[in-house]
């Protein structure tokens, strides 16, 4: 299972990678912004996308929209964000984001959540 994590906080990326790599048989990709993320999505078969909202160069919402336009949007898309004020939950769901996860996320919960996805 291939997981792509996008976040502009490099420390956070490191922690996500460390935590999620405990899950068996999964490969973790990381990107510091939407543009990097889009490139990885284009060149790899990603199953799960976990992306931050606010990022430089290309934000999480734009990343989802672009990936969707290029037909490379993964089956599972989650927005992990500290604040998504300007978008309503329904709008985000229409874009293909299945769930909004509020930061700070509990890592045990996240590992458990991702493990259950197929």
């Amino acid at each position: 299972m291939n997981i792509l994590i996008c976040d502009d906080e490099s420390l956070l990326l490191e922690l996500y990678e460390s935590e999620l790599s405990q899950i068996e048989a999964c490969q973790i990709f990381t990107a510091a912004d939407g543009l990097e993320g889009l490139e990885i999505l284009t060149n790899n078969e990603i199953d799960i996308l976990l992306t931050d909202g606010k990022m430089p160069r290309m934000d999480g919402i734009k990343l989802v929209n672009e990936a969707s336009r290029k037909g490379v949007l993964p089956r599972h898309v989650y927005l992990i964000t500290g604040y998504h004020g300007e978008y309503k939950d329904e709008e985000l769901k229409e874009m293909g984001i299945q769930k909004i996860i509020d930061k700070p996320v509990d890592f045990d919960w996240l590992i458990n959540f991702v493990t259950k996805l197929d």
């Binding site: 420390l11 964000t81 930061k103 700070p104």
Partner: protein, 510 residues
């Protein structure tokens, strides 16, 4: 022998002079008698004339009177002349002739002296002419009066049609002055029916004719009285918009204008309370949305670092093989603190989204707990004990607008806090949720001084405040009340051992 006392009885009667010739004697005698009778009748005619002409001047009257004596004297002279054909009473004839001569002389002199006035006496033709002229003048005057009356009638109808279209209430103020001529009060006269309409929805009304200051003392405090006085003195129109009357509980747009024809001032006023409250609402909404944006920004900025702390904490735990008791305790403290901060940012975030027009299903107790979390530090720092009463209601869900409701509750708590700041001894704020037969009730109570009876009617009025200058905007309770109304609820005050502000949600609207 004096002049008039001679005896003529032995003289010859006058008949001898004409040799008693009957053809001369009788015509002479008859003519004299006719002259006497005629001369005697003339004074009667003249007296009648004077009587009927009260307009104659006394001088003319006197002259006519002289003429009467003169002509009567002439008459008597003729009578005596006639009798002296047979008798010889020449003494009487002499006396009469002398009298006649005197009177006729005086009459002639007086007539000469008054000839001008006599000439000016109008003739009947002249009278007629004048009369006709007068009649014509009278007719044209009547015509003119009729025309003017019609003009006035038209003017009145014109003004009335304008007045009927005016939506403003119009009151005319008449000054009441003291001995030195200074204006000390105002009398009011209601000019149109709109006065009642515009005042109708206010907290109370005005009475016509009564002293304005005794009815609305605030007129003086707010400077309106001074404005009216200035308009009196300068004649310049003054517009006051908004003109906020706390005592009437309304905002008005008032135009003060001096009456050009009388010593009075008109005030044209209309109720603009809705416009003003909407303005306040817009200000508050934009304040809320600015607050929301800020809260959202803070939440975002804090949550990512918080995530790093949390993640790092896990790494630390994993890297320590056998943590000591202290290490474990401190790691737990870090974890708990992270959770606490996360909860605060979560609440902030909740405050920031959502608009004021939608309603959401709200778990009331959970919701109230979140608000209490936000304010609890503030309460603690000001020495206030918070008591929560949510008896068995943890599962109750009601429809509210969360942003509006949180504004109301935070506002009520802040009001209670301000009130308790003035209190010595134990300070308690209670937040409760309970259900009555007809309502869901959220209550914020405090054991402060309460609301004075005089102010109970006014506390929900916009801009009413008892807080010290600069502290209260006076918007709190008014806006709370409006926010509550917008979601079908209302804010209500109950005072007993505690001051209790209740937000009542009718069950049937849920």
């Amino acid at each position: 022998m004096s002049f008039f006392s001679f005896d003529t009885s032995d003289f010859m009667p006058h008949g001898h002079c004409i040799l008693w010739r009957e053809e001369i004697l009788y015509p002479m005698v008859i003519s004299d008698i006719i002259i006497f009778l005629s001369y005697s009748a003339i004074p009667f005619a003249l007296f009648y004339f004077i009587n009927k002409r009260p307009d104659l001047s006394p001088r003319v009257k006197r002259m006519i009177f002289l003429f009467c004596i003169f002509i009567q004297a002439c008459g008597f002279t003729h009578l005596v002349t006639a009798s002296n054909y047979w008798r010889s009473d020449y003494q009487l004839e002499l006396i009469l002739k002398v009298i006649t001569a005197l009177v006729s002389f005086i009459t002639a002199v007086v007539a000469a002296m008054n000839i001008k006035e006599l000439i000016s006496l109008p003739s009947p033709e002249q009278y007629n002419q004048k009369n006709q002229e007068l009649i014509r003048l009278n007719e044209s005057l009547e015509e003119e009066v009729k025309k003017r009356t019609q003009d006035l009638e038209d003017q009145r109808a014109y003004l009335e049609s304008i007045l009927s279209g005016v939506q403003d209430g119009i009151i005319e103020f008449h000054p009441i002055k003291n001995d030195t001529g200074e204006i000390i009060d105002l009398n009011s006269k209601f000019i149109n029916e709109q006065v009642e309409v515009q005042l109708a929805s206010g907290a109370r009304s005005l009475n016509e004719r009564d002293s304005l200051l005794s009815q609305l003392p605030e007129t003086k405090n707010r400077g309106v009285f001074e404005i009216i006085k200035t308009v009196f003195e300068t004649g310049k129109t003054h517009v006051l918009d908004p003109d906020h009357s706390i005592e009437l509980g309304k905002y008005y747009r008032s135009v003060f204008s001096k009456n050009p024809t009388r010593e009075s001032v008109f005030v044209f006023f209309s109720d603009v309370t809705d416009r003003e409250e909407n303005k306040l609402q817009v200000i508050n909404n934009s304040r809320l949305s600015a607050l929301g944006e800020l809260a959202g920004g803070i939440a975002h900025e804090i949550n990512s670092p918080l995530q790093i702390i949390d993640g790092s904490l896990r790494q630390v735990r994993r890297s320590i093989e056998k943590p000591s008791e202290d290490q474990n305790r401190y790691l737990d403290i870090i974890k708990d603190t992270v959770k606490k901060i996360a909860k605060i940012t979560q609440n902030l975030r909740r405050l920031s989204h959502g608009d004021l027009n939608s309603v959401q299903e709200t778990e009331v107790v959970q919701f109230l707990s979140e608000i209490i979390d936000i304010t609890s530090e503030k309460l603690k720092s000001r020495g206030v004990t918070l008591k929560q009463h949510f008896l068995n209601q943890s599962a109750t869900i009601i429809k509210t607008n969360k942003v509006a409701l949180s504004q109301i509750i935070i506002n009520l708590i802040n009001n209670a806090l301000d009130e308790l700041d003035q209190k010595e001894g134990e300070k308690v704020i209670g937040v409760s949720f309970f259900v009555t037969e007809s309502h869901y009730v959220i209550e914020v109570s405090d054991n402060g001084g309460g609301v004075p009876t005089d102010n109970i009617d006014k506390i929900f009025n916009p801009l009413f405040t008892t807080k010290e200058v600069g502290k209260g905007s006076g918007l709190g309770l008014s806006l709370s009340s409006r926010l509550a109304t917008s979601m079908g609820a209302r804010v209500f005050l109950v005072q007993n051992d505690f001051t209790r502000f209740q937000v009542l949600f009718p069950k049937e609207e849920q």
